[in-house]
Amino acid sequence: MFRNNYDNDSVTFSPQGRIFQVEYAGEAVKQGSVVVGIASKTHAVLVAIKRNAEELSSYQKKLFPIDEHVGIAIAGLTSDARVLSNFMKQQCLGHRLTYGRNMPVRSLVDMIGSKAQINTQHYGKRPYGVGLLVAGVDQQGGPRLFEFQPSGMTEEMVAFAIGARSQMARTYLEKNVDSFKACGKEELIKHGLRALKESLVQDRELTIDNTSVAIVGVKKDKDGTAKVEPFKVYDGQDVMDWIDSVSDDKENTAPAPATVEESMDVDNDA
């Protein structure tokens, strides 16, 4: 039988130039339930399908706040995600302590990128078995969305999905990519949930138990200055209205998904 000799550790290239352990870690991400992230000019949302190991158990959390302006969605090993999440939390606290500002999302993502890369180049280490979508807003800039992979790869995205059957969600996102930028948060959440639905297996649907939604954005203050709308996760009853709004019977009567129902442009000057 064929046996792969090049996947015993993460420091050996295969003759084809591949590092199998890192690729396998990428597979772990694909085992996780799907998460979707979208960014508009004013908001970034994360939506996720939660799984329960068995009927009697609770649902595994998928969305985590990091700091008031950043949060993550995870797909893969939850325990590995916890390590990264704690690290990110510490970095954000430290940055706020020394500079008195929100940590720039890009530098935060770069840090976990470098941290994950180390695991791919040292003998005896194991890559993280988790992929992340990082949603946040920068000090005065706009919302940001990043993808993170166990290889240490990070990339800024307009919209993205990772996890099991996420290709279906991505196809939906690609189809609607041009409309995201002008979306308000409600419309953005709907897009997210519709993308999630695409990824569901037959005869499964979104329920208040298995769906999580998180939002972060910028809002205009009373005096017109742009303020961070803190990262907030919604579960259970709080997501009911959103799920209802994208239910199949509603969708057939509602106008086409690409229209903008609400616009909340926030200018950077003010």
Partner: protein
């Protein structure tokens, strides 16, 4: 004395080491550290616990010696909210003494409260935070935070709680406490007006028969007036107190911040 050391090489033996140079002004082998890491930035704080509220207050003057550095430098802080604007905070910390230490202490305690919330999904109780603050202060027992801290909030039963500290972490829960430059001016006033010390029921007798005035909890309005009076008095008699009065009122509905003017002279 000087001649004993330098003039004759034979007297000191044949030695060319710089370490052998006379140690006239350095008897211990090293010069004294001249850098003093502390200063006193003046100001005063005050906290009073009521039946279902706590009021924390402090003036907003910041001084170095006889100079006023700033007329608005808050000494009273909300602690342990989830965001930087502390809109959901449940605790208040006041610090007075060396301002840089005060700020460092505040930020450390705030970070700890934030991590506690993150890990446990609920805010820290005043009792727990009070114990933790004591530990933080004591950890620097031999290079202390030069601050008098007071922590305020509502306890598990919803009653007002005030914990006061010395710079190295001794602490106790009290009904009221004044701290800082004018503490010695304000505290006796508080003893009399909050705990009714030296107040007796008229005509109740003499000596041991004399009955103390019965203690009853003060209303929020009474306490607010008391605080303002205490600071107006302190401003009059202490040069390091003045400019503004910052008050935080902690109730079950949240923390309300009040800013009042004080004399600026």
């Amino acid at each position: 004395m000087a001649a004993m050391f330098s003039q004759n090489p034979l007297m000191n033996g044949p030695n060319y080491s710089f370490n052998d140079a006379p140690k006239v002004n350095a008897p211990e082998g090293a010069r004294q550290h001249r850098f003093d890491p502390y200063t006193d930035n003046g100001g005063s704080t005050l906290a009073i616990a009521g039946a279902d509220f706590t009021i924390m207050a402090g003036d907003t003057r910041h001084t170095s010696g006889y100079s006023i550095n700033s007329r608005y430098y808050p000494k009273v802080f909300k602690i342990g909210g989830t965001t930087a604007d502390q809109h959901d905070a449940n605790l208040v910390l006041s610090v007075v003494g060396f301002a840089a230490d005060g700020e460092a202490l505040k930020e450390r305690l705030d970070a700890i409260c934030k991590m506690y919330r993150y890990r446990h999904g609920k805010p820290m109780s005043v009792k727990a935070c009070a114990q933790r603050l004591s530990t933080i202060l004591y950890q620097k027992r031999f290079f202390p935070y030069y601050v008098y801290a007071i922590l305020g909030g509502l306890d598990e039963e919803g009653k007002g709680a005030v914990y006061s500290y010395d710079p190295v972490g001794s602490y106790e829960r009290e009904q009221c406490r004044a701290g800082g430059a004018a503490a010695s001016l304000i505290m006796p006033f508080l003893d009399n007006q909050v705990n009714f010390k030296n107040q007796y029921v008229p005509g109740s007798g003499e000596g041991h028969a004399l009955q103390e005035r019965e203690r009853k909890p003060l209303s929020r309005n009474e306490v607010e007036v008391l605080v303002k009076d205490a600071f107006d008095g302190a401003v009059e008699r202490h040069i390091e107190v003045g400019d503004g009065l910052q008050m935080m009122v902690i109730t079950k509905d949240g923390i309300e911040e009040i800013l009042l003017p004080l004399k600026k002279d």
